[in-house]
Symmetry: C2
Amino acid sequence: MTAPGGDTQHGIRRRNLARVLRAVAAHGPLSRPAVAARIGLTRAGVAPLVEELLRAGLLVETGRAAPSGRGRPGSELAVSDRGPAGIGAEIGVDHLAVCAVDLRGRIRARVAADAANRDSAPGPVLRRLSVLLAEATARIAPEGLRPAGLAVAVPGLVARGSTTVVHAPNLGWRAADLAPGLAPATAAGDGSPGIPLTVENEANLGALAELALGGDGEGRPGSPPDFVHVSAEIGIGAAVVVDGQLLRGARGFAGELGHVPVYPDGRACDCGGRGCLEQYAGEQAVLRAGGLTPERAAAAHPGPGARIALLARRAAEGDTATLRALREAGTALGIALAGAVNLLDPQAVVLGGALAGLAPWVLPSLERELTLRTAVAADPGRHGGPAVTASRLGADGPLLGAAHSALRTVLDDPLHSCTPAHSPRSRIG
Amino acid sequence: MTAPGGDTQHGIRRRNLARVLRAVAAHGPLSRPAVAARIGLTRAGVAPLVEELLRAGLLVETGRAAPSGRGRPGSELAVSDRGPAGIGAEIGVDHLAVCAVDLRGRIRARVAADAANRDSAPGPVLRRLSVLLAEATARIAPEGLRPAGLAVAVPGLVARGSTTVVHAPNLGWRAADLAPGLAPATAAGDGSPGIPLTVENEANLGALAELALGGDGEGRPGSPPDFVHVSAEIGIGAAVVVDGQLLRGARGFAGELGHVPVYPDGRACDCGGRGCLEQYAGEQAVLRAGGLTPERAAAAHPGPGARIALLARRAAEGDTATLRALREAGTALGIALAGAVNLLDPQAVVLGGALAGLAPWVLPSLERELTLRTAVAADPGRHGGPAVTASRLGADGPLLGAAHSALRTVLDDPLHSCTPAHSPRSRIG
């Protein structure tokens, strides 16, 4: 096993720069000695790294004197609220959204629009998305922020390490490379290399948001490093996080929880299988079981979250059919997750997306199945499986995760991705 | 992320020693320049590492001149067939086995015995195992081999990083720490630290064997680095390998494929659940469905492999009940594995243990379900899921995997674990 960058002087320096930046981003403001202590280097070793990050504009001195008295007095260090911004975008079945976060993890711009993307070709969708991207970039530019990377969340399978959506059933997309359609948004104005583009399954990005923000919404990590993050919008997906890293699968197709067989002789699924989870806990299945017509509900309640709000309202009002539908969805989720827990032994299961808002009605039956079916894997003497919690981020997870993921290139390799202030800026839009 | 050993000089040297040893173990005999080329160091950088490994007796010169003519001529290097040996042990429901492999990965001793371990307390089982361990050590000692580590395969859950069997349902063990009972086998004779002991789930060790040996039985890796290894003896377990590493789970309990729900309203399982895979594809279920009484079959056909041979013979003779039982086991396996494949997207599924010997009758129905239920995760245009293959190692996998795993401490940190020839030897037994 080789460390990233190898054991060359260059590789070690790059890793140490990243460690300094991450330490200040996660725990700052910090004095120089506190940085050194956090990353296990000497104060003399940390000093030149800090100077480089200050010169590059990634760190700033707060002006407040560091409390520690030993050695040369110095100001505390913080990450800059100017400079690189991570741009996240989300392509939903019926909405588009863009947000920009700074190095401190704060949202600096956010734009969204309803959009009828189902069965629309990628071209028009990406053109509308580019308009939103340009709007977000225009908003952050006056504040000294420039896009450092763009990550796009999609409800479908993405080939590992590529920008190609292999299959997004609810959009009707197959083998669609998003890079050409987003080229205007990622190109630098002057022909120099533009900003990096990543395309990622929405459930994976929701899990990354959970890792970065799930704790208290202030950037302190809250989720345990091993968890299964369930994401439901129109479809149902999951992300598997092991030791704080996404498990992507050989081709990048891991996490297809929606097509785990729950009732093997049950309802036929569009995927060609039978009895898939999505047929019992997907939005359309729940609407139908609750006595609603999915198409009519979609027309009457367009946009992200509207139909979830409808279901939540009906459930809160005690509507019998809705309550039964959500209970049955929870049972199906519990059976599918029991399989996942037996296979993966996570510390927790986090319900994100639409499920977060419906948790009060879904959780009881879900937990009953999970407890019943994971007894072998439970701790001896303790009954039941891992903790099941609803994400605090709810439907925002994938978009926030995308923006944070776009910042990773900066955090992993601070100087490579850093454009000095005097060089031409990349632009989005 | 920090590399093992960190970026200290000591850590870097240790990693480089390990790289040299692994390169020669995997590809030797090799000339010094060939070693340098393989691990990306200069010839001058490699020379002192090689000398240290030669002095420690881990590498030897073959005496054959290296083909490359540049620089100082030298003999080709190979790993030693003396020195440290990995000791693997297996505690089965009705057998015990021990084997020793040398640094070249060759089996140098192997002893086994039938044993009625079901519902026997750990004490007597470990005493019998210690006798076998002493026998194996006595056999390899005259050949200049000494135990460098002991790994024990058990059919149950092992708490991560511990030697404690949390639950082995088919042995009737709960919260059993194996270290005290194996202390005589792992202690050094002179009171110095003995050899390291690891206790591991058998399916995990079967997967490690597959990684190390599955290719051609000659030590060249054959399995892709992402696979699910299914292991069946009395129970059914699985190991999930991601990027060549075992996925262990938060507590070490990952891989409980036998308790993945297949028919959620189906047969009650000892685990408290319902419709678990083990109730349809476990040995007892198959024997019963094939018209046999499991207890009578166990009495008439004791020992590892005997009942599998019985089922294989009946199937080969065309016995209708046996063929149907194996077909139904394949269907249940296919449903459970469809869930695993949708969640994990492995490159391959490998059937090990008893399933390897029954593959001809289990595979057709297994593959039919897997193909039907993983269409979304399949490559577009290509139908079906990952390749399903039967392990060439069959029921030997866990034992061989244990022995190779015991060698890992040497390969990961060659000089730390190396006892110079003149120092007192550790002993087993």
